[in-house]
Symmetry: C2
Subunit: 124 residues, 2 copies
Amino acid sequence: MKEKATLSEKLMRGDLMEPDCPSRGVLMHVTSRWGVLVLIALETGTHRFSELRRGIGGVSERMLAQTLQQLEGDGFVRRVAYQVVPPHVEYSLTPMGLEVAEKVRSLADWIELNIERIVAREPA
Amino acid sequence: MKEKATLSEKLMRGDLMEPDCPSRGVLMHVTSRWGVLVLIALETGTHRFSELRRGIGGVSERMLAQTLQQLEGDGFVRRVAYQVVPPHVEYSLTPMGLEVAEKVRSLADWIELNIERIVAREPA
DNA sequence: TTTCATACTTACATTAATGTATGTACTTAC
DNA sequence: GTAAGTACATACATTAATGTAAGTATGAAA
């Protein structure tokens, strides 16, 4: 499926066809059900937790929190908390996050634009 | 999160921020654990079931079959079976499938290229 | 004084995804 | 005759993902 290389070379470089490649984990965070939508939402700018919660239809607080933490852990999302009450936390993309978000949105845009074409030819 | 529009307008056009938009289903097929890898593998050309099975590290027969069927159902994959024994089936991308695959690979490539940068700054 | 909003966490329940093992029908190679 | 390869389907078991509900601390508004 790709040029031959040693296992360690593949893993260092990132080879998704290898079962143990760390790329798979990152890919799963980014392409997870809510990961995609969070990245797209944050591409429009900084947002608070509750804004994201309201903007992303159907996401629960639990899932939103978890997704944001994963993306923060991968270095795609920056979290800034103000020590006030009630709590005020702002989320935004890091430069690296912006790069992935662009790729993700490109895919999402294609699907949104072509959804009628896809659904139309769907069997039952 | 996006311009205001009626619900039906959103759904027709495809609005991923809407919980009931069919785009979400397609997106999930495409970004599913094995969907991504199948699309990337097929971008290199036509492949038999067993070739994909061997090429995509860690995928089970069950999951590969299921993933291929989903992608076929969405119109991204074409399946051609020859009536011979032992069975011979070839999978390839449709023109539409090629379009999505390009987007998906673009994302995957970015992750593979940047995996070291990502992992390096990972906390624990 | 009760309610509301915020940004979570935690426990528990449920659903979805995935894996494992087995079977099939036939042919070719051993 | 026995094993292997092919492209699956199916039943069952397990794991992962997700949802629901409740709790927390505090201040401001009603």
